[in-house]
């Protein structure tokens, strides 16, 4: 009788009921959210961070998400040595230019972005790859929603003299800015990438890129956003790499008010 009742109940509830088989632990934070986190569900609050000790739950708890598409994969790993803690995220793509779709796996924070904030993450690239210039580490989108959005800023890697260097791409005016005063990004060791964004819909915004705490690029009087809502992507996205299969490790992702 009990199974029959259960069966009828399921039939009554619809054809594709959702069974929640796993939940994020309530204290999912290491992902520390600001005290005002609950005040505005649409706002990206500060400070926020994740070192992936709770897996991907810090993103989930902050209304973010992670994804992997087109032969990409995402895993939480403990080797090689994380920057801090026990775990880090491993973003793996297969950047084979024979495929039309870009292999990509990233984690996303979204909402109304802070007026001024530092967006940072620690990266570990285990081996050298040659990049055609579109090996993206940070990506900012603006718009009304994810469906109605457009790119704003990229922080990517390009191969220069056989070494990898950061650069910034401004999608609003289609300009590309190289870094200066910093060395190429290291291979086989952690390095910190941080972008300070002073948002402005007019031409009085400001962007500063830091590599391991050193200013690598500073732009002023720029239009940074044309909408309040936005997304920040951290992970691995590549069009063409040699070798094609690439894993980058990411740890200690932060959004903070001060450096």
């Amino acid at each position: 009788m009990v199974p029959a009742t259960l069966a009828i109940a399921w039939l009554a509830l619809g054809c594709e009921p959702t069974v929640l088989i796993g939940t994020c632990a309530e204290a999912a934070s290491g992902g520390t959210a600001g005290a005002s986190a609950a005040a505005n569900a649409d706002a990206v609050t500060m400070p926020w961070s994740t070192s992936f000790e709770q897996g991907l739950c810090d993103y989930h708890s902050a209304q973010g998400y992670c994804y992997a598409r087109h032969a990409a994969s995402l895993s939480i790993v403990s080797s090689p040595t994380p920057h801090t803690g026990k775990y880090m995220a491993a973003f793996t793509v297969n950047a084979d230019d024979s495929t039309a779709d870009r292999s990509q796996t990233r984690c996303v924070r979204q909402g109304v972005m802070p007026q001024t904030a530092y967006y940072g993450a620690w990266y570990f690239i285990p081996e050298l790859h040659t990049s055609d210039g579109n090996w993206n580490l940070f990506h900012f989108l603006g718009g009304v929603s994810e469906v109605d959005s457009h790119p704003l800023w990229d922080v990517s890697l390009v191969t220069v003299d056989g070494k990898l260097e950061l650069y910034v791409l401004n999608f609003l005016n289609r300009t590309r800015s190289a870094v200066s005063g910093v060395p190429p990004v290291p291979i086989g060791s952690w390095f910190h990438v941080e972008l300070k964004l002073v948002r402005s819909a007019q031409a009085n915004g400001e962007l500063t890129l830091y590599q391991d705490g050193e200013v690598a690029l500073h732009l002023t009087k720029v239009m940074t956003d044309d909408t309040d809502w936005g997304q920040w992507y951290v992970g691995n996205y590549a069009k063409t790499l040699t070798p094609a299969l690439s894993t980058v490790y990411v740890d200690d992702v932060t959004i903070r008010e001060e450096q």
Partner: protein, 375 residues
């Protein structure tokens, strides 16, 4: 018992059977065509004797798949009975010679009565060996009885009864024949109150059947192919069977696509109600089935940062299949079946932070291999 003694016994039984033919002709539960010289018992008399042997209730309640054609020919001063017996596609021929055609008519009636009881008392189909005692098969016939005499045939009939485990033994059959004969002298009583022997030979039409073990595999319910073991119990009535089965499936660990390390631990039990109708081809039976299944699936999300209460869900599916049963003996058959089921509900198993881990497929395809025991 020597052949000579057996011959004498059979001849005696046959003489008793036909020395006082019944006044009333009754229907028999099988098709019988009969040809004999004018001075021998005719079809009406043979059927009457068969009816007397089986009892009225057996005739009314238990249709048979047996068919037979009997022919008696004079061979010099003797007579020869050629009895062609058919059971679905299994055929056999028995040839018996005797000095009396009455004896041969009796042998035919006893033989058919014993086969009828063997058929009714066992859930398994009759085999070529049962029909003819020699290598015969579907679509084939054997004529290797030439030269048998009535006594040998009676001995063979006794052996048949032994093979039919639930049927009476040969002596009981002979006794039945004798008693029926004595009662046939009182046809009115026979019509209204079948003998106790006849009642005993008309068993319950339902038989208990169970299957153990049943090995199952299927795809379409859990994300990976599933393997399970179970058992079933139910009832058989002639070619119909209804079974209720339960299966415990091996647990599965599954990682969802791009999120390495994230997935679920699945557990599953299922129950199935099936109704099948068998079509026999000798010792083999093909049985189309309709089935209704209830799956109960538990799933525990896994991955760094994920906790789970191991929730359960259940869903119904309906479908059809076909089973092949090979009868090892009267009590045991080996089963191999395939089936397809359509789910009435397709639960989605979702884990926070990574989304959908798996979803029950719209169609499940399964295979079952097992043993069926019929009591």
């Amino acid at each position: 018992m020597s052949h000579c003694t057996a011959a004498g016994t059979a001849a005696g039984i046959a003489w008793l059977l036909f020395s006082a033919p019944s006044a009333a002709q009754s229907a028999v539960p099988m098709q019988l065509a009969w040809q004999a010289p004018a001075n021998c018992p005719q079809e009406t008399q043979v059927k009457q004797k068969l009816h007397d042997l089986l009892g009225a209730s057996a005739v009314r309640e238990a249709p048979s798949r047996l068919r037979a054609e009997g022919q008696i020919e004079p061979i010099g001063e003797r007579f020869r009975l050629t009895l062609n017996i058919h059971y679905d596609l299994v055929n056999a021929t028995r040839v018996v010679q005797a000095s009396s055609c009455e004896d041969l008519s009796g042998v035919a009636a006893v033989t058919l009565a014993l086969l009828f009881r063997a058929e009714q008392n066992s859930g398994a189909p009759l085999t070529a060996r049962d029909l003819g005692g020699a290598a015969t098969g579907a679509g084939a016939s054997a004529d290797n009885r030439s030269g048998s005499d009535a006594g040998n045939e009676a001995t063979r009939a006794g052996n048949e009864a032994t093979r039919a485990q639930h049927a009476e033994n040969a002596s009981a059959a002979a006794k039945t024949a004798s008693e029926s004969e004595s009662e046939s002298e009182k046809p009115a009583d026979d019509e209204q109150e079948p003998s106790s022997e006849a009642s005993a030979g008309n068993p319950s039409r339902f038989r208990f059947a169970f299957r153990a073990p049943e090995f199952r595999t299927d795809i379409g319910v859990l994300p990976e192919p599933s393997y399970g073991i179970g058992l079933a119990a139910g009832l058989r009535q002639e070619a119909w069977r209804v079974l209720l089965s339960g299966t415990l499936w091996l647990a599965q660990e599954y990682e969802s696509g791009p999120f390495v390390g994230y997935g679920a631990h699945f557990g599953r039990v299922s129950g199935e109600l099936s109704g099948c109708h068998g079509f026999r081809f000798g010792g083999f039976e093909l049985a189309p089935c309709l089935l209704l299944a209830l799956d109960a699936v538990s799933a525990r999300g896994t991955g760094v940062g994920i906790t789970s209460t191991n929730p359960r869900t259940a869903f119904l599916s309906a479908g059809a299949g076909i089973q092949g049963l090979w009868s090892v003996n009267r009590s045991l058959a080996v089963i191999l079946g395939v089936n397809a089921r359509v789910a009435t509900s397709r639960p989605r198993f979702v884990s926070e932070s990574v989304g959908e881990i798996s979803q029950v497929g719209p169609v499940a395809l399964g295979v079952v291999l097992g043993c069926e025991w019929v009591l």
